[in-house]
Symmetry: C2
Subunit: 432 residues, 2 copies
Amino acid sequence: MIQFESIDSPLNINLCSFSTLLSHDPLSVSVGFSIIGGLITCKLVPEFKESFIKAKLTGKDLAKDDKEPPIPECMGVICATVYLVCMFFFIPFPFMEWFSGKGKISQSEEFHAPTFPHHKLGEFLAAMLSLQSMTFLGFADDIFDIRWRHKLFLPAIASIPILMVYYVNFGVTHIVVPIPLRFIFGRIIDLGFLYYVYMSMMAIFCTNSINILAGINGVEIGQSLVIACSIAINDFLFLNDADPAVEAHLFSLYFILPFIGVSFGLIIYNWYPSEVFVGDTYCYFAGMTFAVVGILSHFSKTVLLFFIPQIFNFIYSCPQLFRLVDCPRHRLPRFNPSENKLEYSRVKIQKPLKKPASFVLDLFELLRLVKVDKGETSIEVNNFTLMNLLLLKIGPLHERTLAILVVVIQILASCLSFYIRYHLVHFFYEVI
Amino acid sequence: MIQFESIDSPLNINLCSFSTLLSHDPLSVSVGFSIIGGLITCKLVPEFKESFIKAKLTGKDLAKDDKEPPIPECMGVICATVYLVCMFFFIPFPFMEWFSGKGKISQSEEFHAPTFPHHKLGEFLAAMLSLQSMTFLGFADDIFDIRWRHKLFLPAIASIPILMVYYVNFGVTHIVVPIPLRFIFGRIIDLGFLYYVYMSMMAIFCTNSINILAGINGVEIGQSLVIACSIAINDFLFLNDADPAVEAHLFSLYFILPFIGVSFGLIIYNWYPSEVFVGDTYCYFAGMTFAVVGILSHFSKTVLLFFIPQIFNFIYSCPQLFRLVDCPRHRLPRFNPSENKLEYSRVKIQKPLKKPASFVLDLFELLRLVKVDKGETSIEVNNFTLMNLLLLKIGPLHERTLAILVVVIQILASCLSFYIRYHLVHFFYEVI
């Protein structure tokens, strides 16, 4: 049986969805857990500040005066732990109807589970396991500063449980080819093993791409919240009993709603001026949540659409990430204390330039993506990140303004994604 | 259907078991992973020493000269992480036969899984999730020094996934009453919800009881290795295709063997004189491994039998743990540098004694479990731990000798447990 990402029109955005929402008991419970999770995070973060400072888990705010006291770092671990505990308590709820003997399994699933949907429970457990692994690894990274080349592959290891469950529950490795490419590949390609590679790559991408669009107050959680809300809105569009994908989108909501809750609980303290930093832990935790939901709910392409700013930032960063151009330890915008604003930061490259560096610089200059100042023995160029690019184009900005700008870009990108997903999709796929 | 811990005779300890062993492919793979896990731990621990010292995760060896440099603390996290990664890669192997289409499900399981044993995969995932949660919480405890009353309940939260899977896969809450008590309770009691409370209590007990029989070089891993080997030996006794419990004991072996592997990899550096400390992380990780295996393989009573020294130490410690008698921060034996030996440590209690304290002291003195020195305004008594008791009875010992002694006691206790489990059991249960 060939399954693929279900493609539907947005006509279902109506009150019907919301009445259906209320009829799904576990969903109401999930909303409850999300609110409770947010409140607990909100309460625990200030309580744990002292412990973090005592444990020397602190950082310096690079975009503030030197005199500021050190700020507790990697508080994302609190929010992730609250999330995981909430999910532990939530796991039984979607299965309540089976416990009370009222559970019914849809016809297509009958062959799986005549008495209890063990395969669905497996999905929950695997998703939790992957999320927890990634949180754990993120926390370890915050503490031990794991080497770049090692940490790149950690998400791949953390995604093993979901890939395993994907294999036994779905095992679908076919993709439907976009219409314009069908004259080459035909309608369906079986990627086989490569599909699993694609899914691990997705986990690697989601976690690391949030981690490199980071560094100023509130921006990590800001972008994650926009992505999470976009996923949740997309899920609500499918919450119609008649929709075959309703189960998958409920699964997604169960994971995304508490994520939104705990993230709100944390951003209160992380927004400008930050009282706490979120650390790599949060970025990994957030990225993995999106990857897990995308993979196990079969809309990985839609999730990736919500990552447009991250994809741009990643491609733009590649020359530095892959060391074609020198990459300093921090590529954050530079703080100008006299104006209390952030300016784009620059990197000095010694002449003579190597060929790839010179090619990249020429190309990016042609595309007006960089500003190159040529000196006698070296050249200076802005660091290749979205935030530096914004500061280059717009001029120096206050830290809060830059964070708001990034969030606004993320929101606009989400609007574009919805447009692509529900309108332009006609040019690429048949809409069922 | 009423299931209970299967009670079998030890007659199967024969070559047949070992030939069966080799015929179980996943078991050979598990042995392979255990060896690899041990080697990797052995390689990583010295490599990470510097990172731990840099991250200020260090401790002072209280039973050494003051001049010794600080020692990397909570290295158990390395061994637990290696274990978890090994298990991630191992998970598919027990299911290989289903992937190749050759899998067969035993008749009793047919109603569960006509196409794939999703319920078994669920057990693996839940076990991993509980183990990982406990490791994560242990690590957090090492870093943040979580309050005693909070950390007592962490294992209960970490055990939710296995309880959930226990509920849906087995749901058995009946216990068979020992013969001498049947005239009161009848042959079978249904504990209902209390059975789940019992299982969480077991997780709390296993993790914390190892954590309180700790503090001198090598003793945490030493006792855990003896318990793990005892569980493994007990599992091998059932590895006979005819035995109905073979699946459960294979499950247990898959979790215990890699644990033995990584623990050996770590004890090399933790045995006297320690180059690294294992931290609460290791104690929690070890305890949870035993609890998970006991619960999901249905031999929790047998696992508890292997905890005799820990049970004794716990009961003996109760007056201090529950603050009937003053409890100092550390109850470790006291180091005497002039003789390079450990002596029992003492606690001073101000007079007048409260009634419960006075009762406990009188009772323990009667049982010759304490040495009380009465002064005018206060009395001094040895701290209530197994190690202090040994030093009280035998006299001062070298640290290595004391660690060996604890391990020997653990081995003797295991021999006693096997005797109880396979001989005295006739007095309590019908042997099938």
